[in-house]
């Protein structure tokens, strides 16, 4: 059991079995939070719910949805708002890392990847924004990626979806500014999660999801708007963005 906190947070997590989402859920559970988990694998969600209860969550429920389906995604938001009678923090964490080569030759695949990594989070955030605007508080936190900061030959379908999502969040933040709703754009670098399990992950830029989760909770409470995690990616990406095209095009990035 975690330390019971005054007014423990009501947290909704979309894509709850993703590596980063799991680590964030753990930390909210330790703080005695109430959680609603949205995902599509019932066994994984039930296991996660048991885990979070042991870790101290005061309430855990889950909602089954395939977030690639726009209608199911929208309904999941309504279900989450109902389940906890309102939400203080929503984390939108689902996504996939597409195979760039395949996306170049398989149009349907490319379109489905854009749908999952851009369209689906947009639909969820719109539904959340409607709910949050009424209560005039809360945080919408969305996992984008450092890959969204500049299009690179090795990964630009993913980069385009995440970059589009960053731009979307920028606009949403503008819209919600007056209502006091906080919009957080989380840009992780290389994180050891199931999504990246097929990559060699020995380099010193790789970090565990626990580290990223810690940064996310800090950014939620300080109402930060864009979070690079770990911090050094902010500088790496500043450099990558600043490279003139003549130089950039010669790299293998």
């Amino acid at each position: 059991m975690g330390m019971p906190h005054e007014g423990a947070s009501r947290v909704a997590i979309f894509g709850a079995t993703s590596g980063i989402a799991k680590a964030v859920a753990k930390l909210y559970a330790e703080r005695g939070g109430q959680l609603v988990l949205v995902g599509r694998d019932p066994i994984a969600l039930a296991d996660a719910a048991d885990d979070l209860r042991v870790r101290g969550a005061s309430k855990v429920c889950f909602h089954l949805a395939d977030l690639a389906d726009i209608e199911e995604a929208r309904e999941a938001v309504e279900a989450a708002l109902r389940a906890l009678d309102g939400i203080d923090v929503a984390l939108v964490a689902h996504g996939s890392l597409p195979d760039q080569q395949r996306a170049q030759s398989d149009a349907a695949y490319a379109a489905s990847q854009i749908a999952l990594n851009l369209t689906s989070p947009v639909v969820i955030c719109e539904a959340l924004a409607a709910g949050f605007q009424e209560s005039k508080k809360g945080t919408i936190a969305v996992v984008t990626s450092v890959a969204g900061d500049r299009g690179r030959q090795s990964n630009y379908v993913y980069g385009a979806a995440k970059g589009g999502l960053q731009r979307y969040l920028e606009g949403l933040r503008h819209r919600l500014h007056a209502s006091g709703v906080h919009v957080l754009d989380i840009r992780p670098g290389f994180v050891r999660t199931p999504m990246t399990a097929h990559l060699p992950r020995n380099g010193s830029l790789w970090v565990d999801a626990d580290r990223v989760a810690r940064d996310i909770l800090a950014a939620v409470s300080s109402r930060r708007q864009v979070l690079y995690t770990p911090f050094f990616w902010r500088y790496i990406l500043a450099l990558v963005r600043a490279l003139p095209r003549s130089v950039f095009h010669k790299t293998k990035l």
Binding site: V54, R55, P194, S204
Partner: protein, 460 residues
């Protein structure tokens, strides 16, 4: 889907890292399914906190258990915890071991010197802690575990159910199957903070007298030995003892180290001058006093090295070797003295030499390491032949003293030393899962180098 990636043990260097094919199951269900499809040459990998090749399987497959990190249940009345095998001890401390208002708490019954190990690894190596004289090994506190076997079965093992497999799996180095879930009995402590007392001692005889004196009233004991002290000073050190402070609260330590060594220096920073300086400073830790007492968190007492993440990088790209032996009471004093002499003659030093006594409580595992007597743990930067010669010498002393070497720390043990040190090996072999193997098992001839499916005994 498997991928090729470098997996390392904590000793790093060529002796403790290799490229492996690996599968990283995301759930117990996935893990069981993945393991049941294997016919040969597979090993579970937790967090790579053993030092040599006991957690590695060069040329074979690893099942990376980092995704098996969920708690299943914790009963606050009885202290019974059920969790998946990849949960770390640090996680248990945070989740289950918080002081209640009166200071009392559930606590790990046994903890090794780092909290970043998995429960599965702690079972498979039957780890011990500074309270061995009162609590025995980690395995003594295991109520049961679920073990997947490559024939597709999932067996619950406890002292009553599949007892042979239970005894073989505790300390079984991952060679009896894949541990997926563990049920552990936590213990009740009156406070999570510790009363700690340090005493300087000048000889090994003084050490054994202190250990004798402390063992009834102090549940945790261990000593640091100044292994650079030669001649009449040989055997000097600092004896530390601790016990739970009733009503004392300690905040659970963080899941991640506070500071980290960010990269590997091109050569070892441990050795020569730094080693001398460290040991000289440590000897002066108590200033002019000969004894010191304090009440503090358990973190610096149990996990001093966990404060610095990736401290093993300080040894450079070649890494380091650990050596830990246990020797029986009757030969302990002389054997330890001989080892200290051998180290000093070799001109090598250990950054941290730790000496402690083991109590009489029997270990439940067929291959468990602790035996009643004393245990000495040392680390040496990997410097090729000189290091190898010294470690051979230490092995000889251990063998002639009737002792054994700890597989979890080992990277050099010979097959003869293993066979002599672990007399229940034949019994163990009957429980081996024919799909498993490891670098260690092949090196010490525990398993044949190239094993075909079903080539050796299978009891189930």
């Amino acid at each position: 889907m498997s991928i090729e990636q470098v997996y390392s043990a904590w000793g790093r260097g060529r002796h403790a890292s290799a490229s492996h094919k690996a599968i990283a199951p995301r759930s117990v269900f996935d893990a069981i399914r993945a393991f049941s499809h294997q016919r040969r040459n597979v090993l579970a990998y937790g967090r790579g906190r053993s030092y040599g090749d006991v957690c590695l399987n060069p040329g074979g497959l690893l099942i990376d258990c980092s995704g098996l990190d969920r708690f299943v249940s914790f009963d606050r009345e009885s202290g019974v915890l059920e969790c998946e095998a990849g949960v770390s001890l640090g996680d248990i401390l945070r989740v289950c071991c918080r002081s209640e208002p009166d200071g009392s708490a559930w606590f790990l019954p046994v903890t090794p010197g780092t909290r970043f190990v998995t429960v599965g690894g702690a079972v498979a190596n039957d780890v011990h802690g500074k309270n061995h004289h009162g609590f025995g090994t980690f395995g003594r506190h295991i109520l049961s575990f679920d073990l997947a076997r490559s024939d597709g079965s999932l067996l619950t093992c406890s002292p009553d159910e599949n007892p042979d497999l239970f005894a073989a799996t505790i300390g079984g180095l991952g060679l009896t199957g894949l541990i997926v879930r563990v049920r552990l009995q936590l213990r009740r402590v009156p406070g999570t903070a510790l009363q700690v007392r340090d005493d300087r001692f000048n000889s090994l005889s003084d050490f054994f007298a202190l250990a004798d004196d402390a063992q009834d009233d102090w549940e945790y004991t261990a000593a640091w030995i100044d292994c650079l002290a030669a001649g009449s000073r040989s055997g000097r050190g600092i004896f530390s003892r601790a016990r739970h402070h009733p009503g004392g609260h300690a905040v659970p330590p963080p899941l991640l180290p506070r500071k980290s060594i960010p990269f590997t220096p091109p050569m070892s920073l441990v050795g020569g001058l730094s080693l001398r300086a460290f040991n000289a400073l440590y000897w002066r830790k108590l200033g002019i006093r000969t004894t010191r007492t304090a009440t503090a968190s358990y973190e610096p007492f149990f996990y001093p090295l966990d404060a610095v993440g990736a401290w093993n990088r300080l040894y450079g790209p070649s890494g380091f070797h650990q050596f830990q032996c246990a020797v029986p009471t009757r030969t302990a004093r002389d054997a330890v003295a001989d080892m200290l002499k051998a180290i000093s003659m070799a001109g090598e030093g250990s950054m941290l030499a730790v000496l402690k006594t083991f109590g009489a409580l029997p270990s439940p595992g067929l291959l468990s390491f602790p035996m009643e007597g004393a245990t000495l743990a040392l680390d040496f930067p990997a410097r090729g032949d000189t290091t190898h010669r010294l470690m051979r010498r230490l092995e000889e002393i251990t063998r002639s003293a009737g002792g054994r070497i700890y597989p979890a720390k080992d990277s050099m043990m010979t097959a003869e030393a293993f066979a002599e040190g672990y007399p229940r090996l034949q019994e163990f072999l009957r429980q081996v899962d024919p799909a498993t193997s490891s670098g260690f098992a092949r090196r010490v001839d525990l398993l044949p180098a190239a094993c075909e499916s079903g080539a050796y005994g299978n009891a189930t």
